[in-house]
């Protein structure tokens, strides 16, 4: 088993079984539907057009390529969307480095060549994004090969293993054929996904957002820079945006829709699930820089005559954000807010404990409380969540600490 660089393979002379030179390597192809990493065939530029040399008939591979069969048996190459062409689709292109969590440009591709059943099996193992690949490509053909190898040995490699590489492809049909699903990217923290998205060109942003799951997209969208957020949402179709917005926190969704032109946000609202639509529409009616504009309507509340077990049931059924569960709110018969219980107290108390024993006074504010008042309350009482109550002292929504941090950072 040994390493071959894509840039060494490209342009290499190709000999067939007779030993006669028939052309040069023009492309190296992977067929992801058959195998994710194995090279399926080489495209050879011959005097008789582009021919396909199947990987199964490769006898040796390196500065020159040797085939085990007769050149006359190589078929004419017919372009297909379903194969990944390493030179065209990968070399010099941008990819997502899932491990390093950034967008990088490919300087070279490292292939592994191993002898299997008397033919050479080639497979992609890593992409080179460092100086080694860059210098190899710069000096190729200008410096004798052995000098170059000796020189390159001294340069520490900077490679990304193939399993951490997410390809960027803007054509949706081709993404399906090449099996590009952004599995690695989807597993990252939403804030990291957002950072990566911000580094991409517009079409590539769309491509990623059309492909990843709605819930991942929703979380990442919340973390995006507002400018990028709007331009991205405007480029996606309303149905897809509605699917993503459905999964977002209602307050984040309202913030987003507010920034869009009215006809566009209307379109998106129409496509949304009725329940989410009502919540978001209500939030949209409040002033932007008030408590009501900042709050989310997804919170945990239970009757104040219940026990810890009731609170835990309510928590189990809760589908809102993680930040919102920090406090369980209590209400009386008329849904009037009567107190709050921190999550910690629930976690450490026996399940039969009445909630009234754990009760603390809930810190509240009115819906039109301005931003600085909200921030002041968080500061004074060291809050994690703040209750927003209407004129009948009913809980309308809560503001969570992460929203306040965002608010303060944007204000300064």
């Amino acid at each position: 088993m040994s390493l071959v660089a894509l840039s060494e393979l490209l342009g290499a002379t190709v000999r067939d079984v007779s030993g006669a030179v028939h052309g040069r390597v023009r492309e190296v192809a992977v067929a992801p539907q058959e195998h994710p990493t194995r090279i399926a065939f080489l495209i050879v530029a011959t005097s008789d057009g582009e021919r396909v040399l199947p990987a199964s008939s490769l006898k040796s591979c390196g500065a020159s390529v040797r085939a085990a069969d007769d050149a006359r048996r190589w078929e004419k190459y017919a372009p297909s969307d379903g194969v990944l062409l390493l030179k065209r689709d990968l070399l010099d292109q941008q990819i997502i480095d899932v491990h390093g969590r950034k967008v990088v440009r490919v300087n070279d591709v490292e292939l592994d060549s191993a002898l299997v059943n008397s033919h050479v099996a080639l497979s992609v193992i890593a992409v080179d994004v460092g100086a080694r690949g860059a210098i190899r490509r710069l000096t190729q053909g200008l410096v004798p090969a052995f000098t170059m190898r000796a020189l390159l040995e001294k340069i520490p490699p900077r490679v990304i293993p193939w399993q951490y590489v997410d390809l960027l492809e803007t054509d949706p049909a081709r993404r399906v054929k090449l099996k590009i699903v952004y599995e690695g990217l989807s597993k990252l923290h939403p804030a990291d996904i957002a950072d990566i998205i911000e580094e991409l060109p517009a079409a590539e942003r769309e491509a990623v957002f059309e492909t990843i799951d709605e819930d991942v997209a929703a979380e990442a969208l919340e973390e995006l820079d507002p400018k990028v957020q709007v331009s991205l949402v405007e480029s996606l179709d309303s149905e897809r945006v509605a699917d993503i917005v459905n999964e977002m926190d209602p307050d984040a969704a309202a913030d987003l829709l507010e920034k869009l032109p009215e006809d566009r946000s209307g379109e998106i609202l129409n496509e949304m699930e009725p329940e989410e639509r009502i919540e978001v529409t209500q939030l949209l009616e409040f002033g932007k820089n008030t408590a009501a504009g900042r709050m989310t309507t997804e919170f945990v509340s239970v009757p104040d005559n219940g026990t810890v077990a009731d609170a835990i049931d309510a928590l189990k059924q809760f589908e809102g954000s993680r930040e919102a569960v920090a406090t369980v709110y209590l209400y009386s018969v008329a849904y009037k807010i009567t107190g709050a219980v921190p999550l910690v107290k629930i976690a450490v108390s026996p399940s039969s404990t009445p909630l009234l024993h754990l009760r603390e006074d809930a810190v509240t504010c009115v819906p039109d409380a301005p931003d600085d008042e909200v921030a002041g309350l968080f500061d004074k009482y060291n809050l994690v969540t703040l209750a927003v109550v209407d004129e009948h002292e009913r809980l309308a929504g809560i503001i969570t600490a992460d929203d306040v941090i965002t608010m303060l950072r944007h204000a300064s």
Partner: protein, 418 residues
């Protein structure tokens, strides 16, 4: 009837709002185009050749519009910078060569901006050994800290200074008929064999259609998030910017022709010579006006050129870039940016360096580099896979290829007749 007029009024308002919203990349680039190199080169052209070189203005304007439009369109359609596209389509080695060339040409421009800073402040009697390092430091900090973004508008507003040349040009009572005739006449055949004539024409082309502008404009269009759909409004921004640049250029040449050339002062050796062109407007205070204008233009361009070079080079060669990154995350980016500024300032501090001569020379280098950058741009804008329906039209190709051929021929002739 009434509703119709309201509707048309509304659409007119919408259109104006759209235009104002996209005023930016094209117009800013155009303004930075009239930097120290521009002012010195146009002044020298007027002082040395009078009205003779005015014929270049119309073809240069057409070429400028075509080239800038191509750049902006590429940015809007692909959402990628020019160096990214060169890398993706032409591979590592060619990109490397283009980037080295760009660094050399842009370094010349950066030296020129510091030369502009030095010579403008020398008019106030301030020594360059003190003010140039100070301004270099200010530029470095301003850009890295992001203060630049908030004062870009101030630079832009101060660019109103260029109007002075229009007024000065009028007040100098030039021979309007001769100037107008010289603008539309064809060039005299003898110029082809004249080294200093060719040198000046290439300088004029290079300073007006500078290679750095293409990289900077395309990056700005991408940064602003202009897409193919909104591109129509950006196109007007670009075209108006180009016309504005060249109207100012025309008046600088005319003002210098009507004053310096008319007084027999055919060679501008320092800024105080160039300032004389504003005498008809400001009399004794011409030097003040000129110094303020040149200082603003130079500092404006000095804030843009080093950083845009660092971005273009790092994006093309695949180094981490961006002011939101820390120094250790993007070392090549920050080093390149810093070295360009420090070396640029150091060169200007060489004692008795002929600042105006160096400035014009750097614009000639721009002119020689331009056709090569243009060839890449032409190949890219004619690539259907990349540009789709926004591929270059025939007229654009003719103008751009003509520019390539003419500039290369002039450069070759210049070498032959040296």
């Amino acid at each position: 009837m009434k509703t119709k007029s309201i509707a048309s009024f509304k659409s007119w308002k919408v259109r104006l709002a759209l235009l104002l919203a996209v005023i930016g990349p094209g117009f800013i680039t155009a303004n930075v185009d009239n930097d120290a190199g521009g002012i010195f080169t146009y002044s020298q052209a007027g002082a040395q050749f009078g009205y003779t070189l005015l014929w270049t203005m119309i073809p240069i304007t057409i070429a400028l519009i075509v080239v800038q439009e191509m750049t902006a369109r590429m940015g809007a359609v692909t959402g990628k910078g020019l160096s990214d596209l060169i890398r993706e389509e032409f591979g590592f080695r060619l990109t490397f060569i283009v980037m080295i060339t760009l660094i050399i040409a842009n370094f010349g421009n950066i030296v020129t901006e510091f030369a502009g800073i030095a010579s403008s402040l020398e008019l106030f009697g301030w020594k360059k050994y003190f003010v140039v390092p100070l301004c270099a430091f200010i530029v470095w900090v301003m850009v890295v800290r992001g203060t630049y973004n908030s004062i870009e508008k101030i630079f832009l507003a101060a660019s109103v200074f260029y109007v002075c040349y229009i007024v000065a040009g009028v007040l100098a009572h030039p021979d309007w008929r001769a100037a107008a005739f010289a603008t539309v006449t064809r060039p005299e055949a003898a110029g082809i064999r004249n080294y200093s004539y060719l040198y000046m024409v290439i300088g004029l082309v290079g300073t007006t259609i500078a290679p750095w502008m293409q990289f900077y404009l395309q990056a700005s269009i991408v940064e602003k998030g202009v897409t193919a759909k909104q591109y129509r409004a950006s196109r007007w921004d670009v075209i108006l910017g180009c016309i504005f640049t060249d109207v100012v250029a025309w008046f600088i040449i005319v003002a210098c022709a009507a004053t310096l050339y008319a007084y027999g002062r055919h060679n501008i050796s320092d800024a105080s010579d160039a300032a004389q062109a504003l005498r008809p407007l400001a009399g004794e205070y011409a030097y003040l006006l000129f110094a303020a204008g040149l200082f603003n233009a130079s500092l404006f361009a000095a804030s843009i050129l080093p950083i845009s070079t660092a971005y273009a080079v790092c994006e093309g060669l695949g180094f981490e870039s961006g002011l939101d990154k820390k120094f250790h995350e993007a070392p090549v980016f920050y080093w390149l940016y810093t070295v360009l500024i420090v070396l640029g300032a150091l060169v200007v501090m060489i004692p008795r360096l002929p600042l105006v001569y160096v400035s014009v020379l750097s614009q000639v280098v721009n002119g020689i580099v331009l056709p090569f950058v243009l060839i890449f741009m032409l190949l890219l804008t004619n690539d259907r896979e990349l540009m789709g329906e926004h591929i270059n039209g025939r007229g654009f190709n003719i103008v751009a290829w003509t520019t390539v051929v003419v500039v290369i021929s002039m450069a070759l002739l210049m070498i032959v007749f040296h």
